[in-house]
């Protein structure tokens, strides 16, 4: 019963903020992982362990792609853009 009712403006804002927080937390975690990868790359290069350099760079690249995808496409549903414009959460749930 409650699930069918459209969320109020305040609920929608709360959901919106939660998604934004999730995005930020994920971005920070990915940045920390990339820092670790950079440290490992420096370590491997100085120790002349060349076989691990490429996997490390690829891992860093994957992290960057994920970061880009989060920034570019991971948006709260209330701001999701479609061919017909932005969808509002309240409209979508009706």
């Amino acid at each position: 019963m409650q699930a069918n009712t459209p969320p109020t403006e305040r609920q929608s804002e709360r959901h919106h903020a939660a998604v934004w927080q999730a995005r930020l937390i994920m971005l920070v975690m990915i940045n920390i992982a990339q820092l670790w990868i950079l440290a490992a790359t420096v370590d491997a290069a100085l120790a002349r362990h060349y076989s691990v350099l490429l996997p490390l760079v690829i891992a860093s690249g994957v992290c960057f792609v994920i970061t880009l995808s989060i920034i570019r496409w991971w948006r709260p549903t209330s701001r999701r853009k479609t061919s017909s414009g932005y969808i509002r959460a309240s409209v979508k749930n009706r």
């Binding site: 990915i30 790359t41 491997a44 100085l46 350099l53």
Partner: protein, 188 residues
């Protein structure tokens, strides 16, 4: 009453004047001081994105530089090590070989034989030094140690032995004739 409060507030604190940016010198460089310290979520997201890009480029650049340096085959020409002939037993001498940028260390062990190694520790490239008391090469950064006669790792974090510089006695002089990278891997 309200005006009085505002006046008192303004007199007690010059912060309002600063934020108002009414002084002529402030007008020359106008920006919204109230919003100066505020970062929006979008700006923070973009900052994290740029940081991610920078870290990726850093890792890629560092790996590329290391691979490039590994691929360059160096040819070494013999070079005389000045002052090596008067080096006392159980002591060491620093020199550069094969280029001026490559620091190396020559050791004359207690039995009189010469050994030379690249001075960069194989862990994180700190310069190693010869410890007379322990008769071994030690790295001061992370407490690694190498055998003075072979350059092999005795203990600590270094993953491989030191680069060996081949030395030869010619007419009473000591010459460096080659440098061998021990252990590690070569870029394909």
């Amino acid at each position: 009453m309200k005006n009085l409060n505002e006046t008192i507030k303004r007199v007690l604190s010059d912060e309002n004047d600063v934020r108002a940016a009414t002084a002529p010198y402030q007008a020359e460089f106008p920006y919204d001081r109230d919003e100066e310290a505020q970062v929006t979520r979008r700006e923070f997201c973009n900052f994290l994105g740029l940081t991610s890009a920078a870290l990726f480029l850093g890792a890629g650049g560092f790996a590329a530089k290391a691979a490039l340096e590994a691929g360059n085959f160096e040819s070494f020409s013999p070079a005389q090590i000045a002052g090596a002939e008067i080096l006392a037993p159980n002591s060491a001498l620093n020199f550069n070989y094969p280029t001026e940028r490559d620091s190396a260390i020559l050791i004359r062990t207690a039995d009189g034989t010469y050994h030379a190694y690249g001075q960069k520790c194989t862990h994180l490239a700190c310069p190693v030094y010869y410890s007379r008391d322990h008769q071994r090469l030690e790295c001061p950064c992370h407490e690694g140690a190498f055998d003075a006669a072979t350059g092999n790792v005795l203990y600590g974090p270094p993953p491989r032995s030191l680069d060996v510089i081949e030395v030869e006695a010619r007419d009473g002089q000591v010459w460096a004739i080659g440098r061998k990278t021990s252990g590690g891997e070569h870029a394909s």
